[in-house]
């Protein structure tokens, strides 16, 4: 199994442990991830100011994966929704495809509509298979209660993404539970983390994150699991900022899913970047048997 690997802007800038743990998990499972040379921003961040600019930026990166002849795997929910929406829009709507290809012609690229785009998590479920992962589990968590946060752009818009149920998702729970951890119910799981608002209105973004953190705390989770750099930032480094500014103490470690799976696959914790998370993660390791 081989995929074009799209990192996006935020992960190599602030969340190398997400990249690192994903590569280690892929290695342990025998999945090959090939970096896309010269990949740019997926365009999501300009969708609000210029529709065509977003579509062209996404198409630019999709073309690169098409040239590699590989389906694309992404780690960021933002890139996920952006690239999947663009890919389907360009496949389905000829007039937009023509318009964007006219733009891409200036740099000798053409959108052909040959590949699929998936989140790393989707690929694990759809292409690799839960049972196959189960066979590779070396260590199980015992008594670890996890608060799973799928993130809006992993699930929606569901007419484009077509993977999990946007109102009652279950795949992330399945993936969490094969490590022996328990994905517990908590209030407003589907609620936005606030991440997309951070650049426009930090106060409002923080309000959303604080509400979620309070819900995680109330449910008594031992750690939060996210699958997106923005969600992770809201619950991990922002958690420390919230403590500083609002005096609210949560002390809940927030891991990226590949960090959890990696531990269960027997990858050494040092190789999963667990020392790079903002909130200390040692307490999670104590549940690993």
């Amino acid at each position: 199994m081989e995929y074009a690997y799209f990192l996006g802007c935020t992960i190599p800038f602030r969340l190398n442990h997400y990249d690192l743990s994903t590569r280690k998990v892929a290695q342990a499972l025998g999945i090959k991830l090939v970096d896309i040379p010269g990949a740019s921003c997926c365009g999501l961040q300009i969708e609000s100011v210029l529709y065509n600019g977003w579509l062209a930026s996404s198409a630019y990166n999709i073309c690169k994966a098409e040239e590699m002849g590989l389906d694309m795997v992404v780690l960021c929910n933002g890139c996920h929704t952006s690239l999947i929406k663009a890919n389907k829009t360009l496949k389905d709507k000829k007039h937009l495809r023509d318009e964007i290809n006219e733009i891409l012609k200036t740099v000798d690229l053409e959108f052909k509509g040959k590949i699929e785009i998936k989140h790393f998590v989707t690929m694990l479920v759809q292409d690799y298979g839960i049972d196959k992962i189960k066979n590779k589990i070396k260590k199980q968590f015992d008594g670890l209660n996890v608060g799973a946060h799928d993130g809006c752009h992993f699930l929606k818009p569901s007419d484009y993404i077509r993977f999990d149920d946007p109102e009652m998702p279950k795949h992330l729970d399945e993936l969490i539970e094969l490590t022996g951890a328990k994905s517990v119910k908590y209030k407003d799981r589907l609620r936005c983390c606030g991440g997309p608002l951070l650049s426009v209105n930090e106060d409002l973004a923080t309000k959303l994150a604080r509400e979620k953190l309070a819900n995680f705390k109330e449910a008594g989770v031992n750690c939060i699991i996210t699958i997106c750099p923005f969600c992770n930032i809201m619950y991990d480094s922002q958690q420390l900022k919230i403590k500083e500014v609002h005096g609210e103490t949560y002390d809940i470690p927030s891991l990226l899913y590949p960090q959890l799976l990696g531990l269960s696959l027997g990858v050494d914790s040092a190789e999963l970047g667990l020392d790079q998370n903002a909130v200390p993660t040692d307490s999670v390791l104590e549940f690993l048997k």
């Binding site: 990192l7 802007c9 935020t10 190599p12 800038f13 602030r14 190398n16 442990h17 990249d19 690192l20 590569r23 970096d35 040379p37 010269g38 990949a39 740019s40 921003c41 365009g43 961040q45 300009i46 969708e47 609000s48 100011v49 210029l50 529709y51 065509n52 600019g53 579509l55 062209a56 930026s57 630019y60 006219e102 733009i103 891409l104 200036t106 740099v107 809006c152 752009h153 929606k156 818009p157 569901s158 946007p166 109102e167 589907l190 609620r191 936005c192 606030g194 991440g195 997309p196 608002l197 650049s199 426009v200 209105n201 409002l204 309000k207 959303l208 509400e211 970047g273």
Partner: protein, 170 residues
């Protein structure tokens, strides 16, 4: 701001046609004002000035200036709840995107988003990966991130019209 009562002469009934023409704005007139979108909106729950069903109504009635110059249309987090749940498939989030695109063409973009759009235009990314970041990656055994072919990327974004919605300078 939305709270202010617009005087009748500031209403432009033709404004809806502008929204209808924009990508994602084409279902605007289907709205029957049920309020489902606002009921499930995480931002509306915390922010009294933000109600997606009001934004839809104001677009239909033509409260053009109130919408375009206000900060309110930029408060949506694009969580897509309204998009999933609207019984009339109005796709309120996409109407909000359409309004933002129109606002951007008229020079109304919040600073945070302007800065991001500028760096995408200048460096092809939201955040620049310099030697410093790549060294940190090397320490972890991660491969360096290759720079974007910025000449190419700029050509693409220029042809798409990004310069027109960014402030003039260079």
């Amino acid at each position: 701001m939305v709270a202010e009562k617009p005087s009748p002469k500031r209403i432009d009934p033709a404004f809806k046609n502008l929204v209808l023409k924009e990508e994602g704005g084409d279902h605007l007139l289907r709205c029957y004002a049920c309020g489902t979108c606002s009921g499930g909106c995480p931002v509306a729950e915390l922010e009294a000035t933000f109600r997606p069903h009001e934004i839809i109504r104001m677009s239909i009635f033509g409260f053009k200036d109130e919408l375009l110059s206000s900060n309110v249309i930029w408060l949506c987090s694009f969580c897509y709840n309204c998009y999933e749940r609207c019984p009339r498939d109005v796709k309120p989030a996409m109407v909000i995107r359409a309004l933002r695109n129109i606002a951007a063409r008229q020079g109304y973009v919040p600073n945070g988003i302007k800065m991001i759009a500028e760096s995408v235009y200048k460096i092809g990314r939201v955040t620049e990966i310099t030697d410093f970041e790549n060294e940190a990656r090397a320490d972890l055994g991660l491969p360096a991130v290759e720079p974007v072919d910025i000449e190419k990327m700029k050509k693409v974004l220029k042809k798409a019209g990004l310069e027109k919605v960014l402030p003039k300078e260079e």
